[in-house]
């Protein structure tokens, strides 16, 4: 399994244009913010002190969630490519077993998701540190790193469901473009969730990535929010709801509730993707033993 993980990582990172395009969704979000959205949003939050830093951190949260989604999807594409090129058939003839093969695709996607989130985090934080003097404390950074793992695992599991129905590389690239474009909207990064119509808000809440984005924002922004809204807790709730820092399920979700939701989605997704493979493999084993 380690050999296959190594293979998938090598294949991902040796394809430079592939790496770049898998970051496209995240880069668009970042650049869009720098060029267009930042000024626009700042003018509407002019009354909030240190609004720039707050918004910078807000953007980092959403963009990291997008990064996890798009990079894990690109990595998982290898699964479809291998199926189409009969690599899967070749591997079936080895002692690896389909369950272990599938797990190696999933794990390599998760590892790539973490690495690319770290890369995006460094790029964005570096830029904001230079331009807006944004800083992150060491405990915050550690927590962010932990959340990156959670985010990569969740995105991998959810994308694995999407990719199950894809049989050809052509359809795969179509799916890639759709996910890449939609991710920014669906995790509420291009436009804050509070500014969207009700139906779109529901769509965002149906997107697993938006919960990850919310958690990132909580981790990165809480200190600032504590200071800014010290005397106006009502305004804080309003801000958190508008910006998708906490999602609203008949009341704003707490951090632990958000983690619970993520955990449930993750378990469900894993059951849906790994379950069938596991059943198939145990059937095969059973048949072999009967012979």
């Amino acid at each position: 399994m380690l050999a296959m993980i190594k293979r998938n990582l090598l294949l991902y990172f040796r394809n430079w244009s592939g790496v770049f395009f898998s970051l496209m969704g995240a880069l668009i979000s970042f650049v869009l913010y720098l060029i267009f959205l930042k000024q626009n949003m700042l003018s509407s939050w002019a009354h909030v002190p240190h609004a720039t830093r707050l918004l910078d951190l807000w953007l980092i949260g959403g963009t990291l969630a997008i990064t996890a989604i798009t990079t894990t999807l690109t990595s998982l594409s290898q699964m479809v490519i291998d199926r189409e090129r009969h690599v899967t058939a070749d591997l079936q003839l080895t002692d690896a077993g389909s369950l272990r093969l599938q797990l190696s695709y999933l794990l390599s996607a998760a590892v790539i998701g973490v690495i690319m989130q770290v890369a995006m985090f460094v790029i964005m934080l570096g830029d904001f540190a230079l331009t807006d003097h944004v800083t992150v404390t060491i405990p915050q950074a550690i927590n962010v790193l932990g959340l990156m793992v959670v985010s990569a695992l969740l995105a991998t599991a959810v994308n694995a469901i999407l990719i199950q129905g894809v049989r050809t590389v052509t359809n795969l690239s179509k799916l890639g473009s759709i996910v890449g474009t939609a991710a920014g909207f669906l995790v509420g990064t291009y436009i804050p969730i509070g500014l969207l119509p009700a139906f779109a808000q529901d769509l965002v809440k149906l997107t697993p990535g938006s919960y990850v984005a919310a958690l990132y924002r909580q981790l990165l922004m809480t200190d600032q929010l504590d200071t800014i809204f010290r005397h106006t807790p009502a305004a804080r709730l309003n801000f958190e709801k508008l910006m998708g820092i906490r999602l609203d399920w008949s009341g704003l979700l707490t951090q632990s509730a958000t983690y619970h939701i993520i955990g449930l989605i993750f378990i469900g997704a894993v059951v849906l993707t790994v379950g069938p493979t596991w059943v198939k493999q145990s059937h095969q084993r059973h048949r072999l033993r009967e012979r």
Partner: protein
């Protein structure tokens, strides 16, 4: 028998791809599967390998024979080097030693380019790496699906020499499909498949003797007189040329010796696998 297939049948929906095929492959033998496009060769291979389950019939191997497969299109990664590719595949097996990759690379003459990326290799080099990959688990039987398609004649010859060498040196059983019918001459046994059924089986020589007619072409100074004398009728007449399709070289000799005064030049060509193949599968394009 190392491998035996009985009444092998595979249907896809209403389409019968393989229809009641019986095959026997002896240990250490060299078997060629021939057939026009869409005849069911690849499906037959997949059934024999075990990648496809038959709708009817069965494939049985002698005591857990290990299989090696060279797929029609390469299954190795272009962006990885030869060694990386082989090492990763070797690690998918439980009982393949780490030193195996180096050993196989040396045996197949890959040493000069093991650190090159697979994607940058020539067609012949790639094919050799593909074969090396299939040999990693020391298979008893090696399946190759059109291993020489798209290669130049030098490379084809080299691949065939390599396969014959492996067959002898390792006591390897080889089963392959090919479009180059002349290649089947070198096989111990040939199976010709059409429309999913077996149409001929045996050694290349036997199949040619049975299905391919010898061709004699003579040029005469006086075609009309020659025709009067003939006991065997020509199949075609083209100006001063007569063409005969004959069951054996002996008949050709008879024609030539009894009419030598009327014949200016002649050409004799023994029946080829191509002739046998066309006789068996028809001229219609698939």
């Amino acid at each position: 028998m190392l491998l035996e297939a009985k009444h092998l049948t595979k249907t896809f929906g209403g389409h019968v791809a393989v229809n009641g095929l019986n095959l026997q492959i002896a240990r250490g033998s060299f078997t060629a599967l021939l057939g026009p496009n869409g005849a069911g060769k690849s499906t037959t291979m997949n059934l024999l390998i075990g990648l496809t389950t038959p709708s009817l019939g069965q494939v049985s191997y002698a005591n857990q024979a290990k299989r090696g497969v060279v797929f029609q299109n390469s299954v190795l990664d272009e962006r990885l080097t030869v060694t990386e590719n082989l090492q990763i595949r070797a690690q998918q097996y439980r009982h393949v030693a780490r030193s195996k990759v180096a050993a196989v690379s040396a045996e197949l003459g890959l040493t000069a380019f093991v650190h090159q990326r697979y994607g940058t290799l020539s067609g012949g080099q790639k094919r050799r790496v593909d074969i090396a990959r299939a040999l990693l688990n020391d298979p008893d039987i090696l399946f190759l699906d059109e291993p020489t398609t798209g290669l130049d004649i030098q490379t084809r010859t080299a691949i065939w020499d390599l396969l014959r060498h492996l067959q002898r040196a390792r006591q390897l059983t080889v089963v392959l499909t090919t479009h180059y019918l002349d290649e089947a001459d070198a096989a111990d046994s040939v199976y010709i498949i059409d429309h999913g059924s077996l149409v001929a089986a045996g050694t290349a020589t036997a199949i040619k003797a049975q299905y391919a007619e010898d061709v004699l072409q003579v040029t005469s100074s006086d075609v009309d007189r020659l025709r009067e004398r003939l006991t065997v009728m020509p199949t075609a007449c083209n100006g001063d040329q007569l063409i005969f399709k004959l069951p054996s070289p002996q008949v050709a000799l008879d024609i030539l010796t009894t009419n030598r005064d009327l014949i200016t030049t002649f050409e004799f060509r023994p029946g080829t696998m191509d002739d046998a193949f066309l006789a068996l599968t028809g001229r219609e394009m698939r």
